[in-house]
């Protein structure tokens, strides 16, 4: 049984994605029989090259793809370096997962409500301090260079990266390393950066690449916070894709190939930069400098990450206020008119989308975890280093979703498979697997094999060692991985919409459909609901090991 897990994973990730990609990319080169394209042509590439503002879109995508991971990485590493073991650290650790669980769209809405010229921050200082009776005419949200979009991405990616780091850290015994370095006279922050960071980086490299791919091709954050004139390439692609002029599909196909190329280029740039930084970093490590820059580094670390968490929490608070507000005109800091109207309108229709969301998330995450654990366990027993090439995991994350999903829908239809819940769950499994694999693989592989050897010498079969030793020891990572899976599944919009033919309503499809509407209170209600569900799951995932192991002091390291 176990040996089927890896082939099934491979088939799911590789075959379906590439199949969808192939079907969807044919239009880029002129093949699209439904609209009369039957020959090979490069005309659509010439057309794409002439799209106004394309150059700027590309620059914004590149910028977002490089700046987001760089700042996220710096923020997380500096925080871990300066705050590990402190009270701040334990607070942030508690907050990070629920914050991570907030879907991108909800976070972006919250941020927009916060930083817009008519937003909460400006209301706080108006009119008393600023003198503004009307919102100032400033281009903050949707700015030309995508700065607010990058902020939105960073706010969302920092918790993700921190969680990945926290999951990987126990494997490299950071406290011991820092203690050793400190005994040689290194200041704590410098010590962490010199002895822990180089060992940690390889463990979180793949999540970083996922962040790069996501940032350079994001659709939902770009729609809410990104530039509009021109929008990012990913948004233009979606527009052409949905254009009623069916000839635009050819252009969308070409743009999809370009988007794919862009994401790959950004990843290439990152890998190149990695080499350069590695040389400089190594020189700094061996320089023997024990305290240089300590103050700056540790101050930065103690400000950056808490600021991110604070932005998220205040955004949530603003969403909350908005969901209960009636008319809330500038410059009033709080609404003068409180009402349950938005909640009353949303709640009666909540049962069906909520049930769908839960069923899809639980089943998709369950299937993904079974496959991932099966594959990892098989590798372990066969003493393989890695049976599943890691780049395979990145295929569904690097290829823009909109591209391969459209192809897949065409394919499933030609097979006469009815769109509906089952197909939606399959599509979700495809996108949940990479994240569950990424969150689980390292803790799984790095679990000290001597535990299992000991079990074997005591006569336990591999299956019983797995059940009685590995699963309990990995309870924390397993639950974290499941919670990540649920959070991803809840936040997915395009797969639900396309594979369900729009018939499978979830909280996210409802939220995004209404996002094009203008009622801020209703948007706030749906964004909150969308955020609440995965947050609850995360809280459960974090609480469970604490409760289960409350009588086992020795298990604290594994919580």
């Amino acid at each position: 049984m176990l040996r089927w897990a890896t082939p099934v994973l491979l088939a799911l990730l590789l075959v379906t994605t590439l199949l969808g990609l192939a079907v969807a990319l044919l239009p880029a080169f002129g093949f699209f029989p439904a609209v009369g394209g039957t020959g090979f042509t490069l005309a659509h590439w010439q057309e794409l090259a002439q799209v106004p503002g394309l150059g700027h879109s590309i620059r914004v995508s590149l910028l977002a793809g490089l700046v987001t991971p760089a700042i996220s990485l710096a923020t997380v590493f500096l925080f871990l370096a300066s705050a590990s073991g402190s009270v701040l650290d334990s607070w942030i650790r508690r907050l990070v997962s629920p914050v991570l669980a907030i879907p991108h769209a909800a976070a972006a809405f919250g941020l927009a409500f916060l930083i817009a010229p008519s937003g909460f921050l400006f209301r706080l200082v108006s009119p008393t301090l600023s003198g503004w009776e009307r919102p100032p005419d400033l281009l903050i949200v949707n700015d030309t260079w995508g700065i607010s979009m990058i902020v939105g991405l960073i706010v969302k990616e920092v918790p993700f990266l921190l969680l990945m780091c926290l999951a990987a850290l126990p494997q490299i015994a950071p406290a011991d390393r820092v203690r050793l370095a400190r005994s040689l006279g290194y200041r704590p922050t410098v010590a962490w950066l010199k002895v822990v960071a180089p060992a940690l980086y390889p463990l979180i490299r793949l999540p970083l690449l996922a962040i790069i791919a996501f940032s350079s091709a994001t659709v939902d954050v770009a729609l809410i916070l990104g530039p509009t004139l021109p929008p990012t390439l990913s948004v233009m692609l979606l527009d052409w894709f949905n254009d009623p002029d069916l000839q635009q599909r050819f252009l969308a196909g070409a743009a999809a190939v370009l988007q794919l190329g862009l994401s790959l280029i950004v990843i290439g740039c990152w890998l190149l930069a990695e080499r350069m930084v590695r040389g400089i970093y190594r020189r700094w490590i061996v320089s023997g400098n024990r305290r240089g820059g300590h103050r700056v580094l540790s101050t930065g670390g103690r400000i950056g990450l808490p600021a991110v968490v604070a932005i998220m929490l205040v955004s949530l608070l603003v969403l909350m206020i908005n969901s209960f507000s009636g008319l809330w005109q500038f410059p009033h800091t709080l609404p003068g008119d409180w009402t349950l109207q938005a909640w009353v309108r949303v709640l009666p229709g909540l049962a069906e989308p909520l049930a769908n969301t839960l069923v899809i998330a639980v089943l998709a995450t369950g299937c993904s975890l079974l496959l991932v654990v099966g594959s990892l366990e098989y590798d372990f027993r066969q003493k393989k280093k890695s049976g599943l090439a890691r780049w395979v995991l990145y295929i569904p994350l690097v290829i823009p979703q909109v591209v391969f999903l459209f192809g897949l829908v065409v394919f499933t239809e030609s097979m006469q498979w009815q769109p509906g819940l089952v197909l939606v769950i399959c599509a979700h499994v495809l996108l949940v697997i990479p994240y569950t694999y990424l969150t689980l693989a390292d803790p799984y592989r790095r679990l000290d094999p001597r535990w299992l050897h000991t079990a074997a010498t005591l006569g336990a079969s591999p299956a019983s060692a797995f059940r009685r030793v590995r699963l309990p020891l990995l309870l924390g990572p397993l639950l974290t991985s499941a919670a990540v899976g649920v959070a991803i599944s809840v936040s997915l919009f395009l797969p639900t919409q396309l594979a369900g033919a729009g018939r499978v309503n979830t909280i996210t499809t409802e939220a995004v459909a209404l996002a094009s509407g203008g009622n801020a209170s209703i948007i706030a209600v749906w964004a909150l609901l969308q955020a609440l569900l995965p947050m609850l799951v995360f809280v459960l995932a974090l609480a469970a090991p604490v409760i289960v192991w409350r009588h086992r002091k020795g298990m604290q390291a594994f919580r």
Partner: protein, 407 residues
């Protein structure tokens, strides 16, 4: 005679069975309405409709209850963020060779979406003029019910709602709003940053371009023929000159444009702008009722009239529940459904029915309330401009992006 008709019935059944076995179903015949009602019973109708406004979704939920009670039709609202997604879906099905098992049974559509569907043979029909309630539309008096952006409807879609471009402003901030496109420029110069418009290709933004092009041109005839038949650069030169002058005085100096009409409304709700416009005449009324806009908002129609059109319901070629879709369309054309849609706390939309043709009791349904202070005057709404040929939409959008995107 009885045996005869029984034999006939058996033959029909057999034939129907054979057709079903080969995947071919007899299409419903709307002239035989009781047969359509019979066939529609127990059918599920997937109605793909733009769902960006909670009030529309609430109204459709009411419709679903009604058609379930009266016709045993199970109506499911497939909520679209963009009508074009419904079009994509139908196209994908055609590409995959799905000709009888479509996932959309009814689509809310007009303009270039309709033109694209019709041109690609993705629609079922003709059927709409045979609906029992179609006569209430009085298409002979209102020929716009047979034309969708100058493209002949040909019975492929049934009228549902009327729309007209209206402007609205906050009377607490603005005392004299501009009454024409030319005045708008002067007004914007005096009130910098108080106006903006959705970025084409959003349909509302494109509507403003069309309105401006029609008002600024000496000759409007070219706009009512396909764009290829006139000199585009020359015909639209006044429009681009105008926009070049207008943009520096828009919100964010024209470096940012909202994505759609709802965002345009939110900018006014947030106090960023003081003047906006909509294609739904009841926009300001419902927004005030929903406590989105202050009660001081007023709406009006430009002095020389504004663009007006109807939106329609179409049945895709591969729908599985065509009879059910017809029953729903006919219900939406009924005086009761139209009157409810017209109520200010519902959609505040304008009916496509000719009130003169209704029975007095039905007509009374529409006279329930006085005009809301925020609604445009009936006299204003009588000043209508017809939609240009749909080929102008992509041409204007492309030219706009060419000029203003990436600057």
């Amino acid at each position: 005679m009885a045996a005869d008709s029984a034999g006939h019935g058996v033959a029909t059944l057999l034939l129907a069975g054979c057709l079903a076995a080969f995947g071919l179903r007899a299409e419903p015949d709307p002239t035989d309405w009781s047969a359509v009602l019979d066939e529609a019973r127990q059918q599920t109708v997937y109605f793909a409709a733009w769902a960006g406004e909670a009030r529309i979704n609430d109204y459709l939920a009411w419709v679903a209850d009604e058609v379930e009670d009266h016709f045993q039709v199970d109506l499911q609202h497939v909520k679209l963020a963009d009508t074009a997604m419904g079009v994509s879906r139908i196209l994908a099905e055609k590409q995959a060779g799905n000709t009888s098992d479509g996932t959309v049974d009814l689509l809310w559509v007009n303009g270039e979406n309709f033109a694209a569907l019709k041109e690609n043979g993705l629609l079922y029909g003709p059927w709409s003029e045979q609906l029992p309630n179609f006569s209430l539309v009085n298409a002979n008096r209102y020929p716009e019910m047979r034309e969708d952006f100058t493209v002949a409807v040909d019975g492929l879609e049934s009228p549902w709602l009327r729309a007209q471009l209206i402007f609205y402003y906050d009377s607490a901030i603005v005392s004299t709003p501009p009454r024409s496109i030319r005045q708008l420029l002067a007004w914007a110069q005096q009130h910098p940053g108080e106006f903006t418009y959705p970025r084409p290709p959003d349909f509302l933004g494109t509507t403003l371009l069309k309105q401006a092009a029609l008002e600024l041109s000496d000759r409007t005839a070219p706009f009512y023929s396909p764009v290829g038949e006139s000199n585009f650069a020359e015909v639209t030169r006044p429009l681009w000159n105008y926009l070049d002058q207008l943009h520096p005085h828009l919100l964010r100096k024209g470096r940012y444009f909202p994505v759609n009409g709802a965002q345009l409304r939110r900018l006014m709700a947030d106090g960023d702008t003081a003047l906006a416009f909509s294609f739904s005449p009841g926009e300001a009324v419902t927004a005030i009722a929903n406590r989105e806009l202050p009660p001081t908002v007023r709406s009006y129609v430009l002095d020389s009239g504004t663009l007006s059109n109807a939106s329609f319901l179409a049945i895709p070629f591969n729908s599985r529940s065509k009879a059910g879709a017809m029953v729903v369309s006919n219900f939406l054309l009924s005086p009761r459904a139209q009157a409810r849609a017209a109520q200010p706390d519902q959609m505040a939309s304008f009916t496509v029915l000719d009130l003169d043709l209704l029975a007095p009791a039905d007509r009374a349904l529409f006279n329930g309330e006085d005009r809301h202070a925020a609604a445009p005057s009936a006299e204003g709404l009588s000043r209508k401009l017809q939609e240009p040929h749909p080929s102008w939409v992509p041409a204007l959008e492309r030219a706009w992006l060419q000029r203003y995107s990436g600057r």
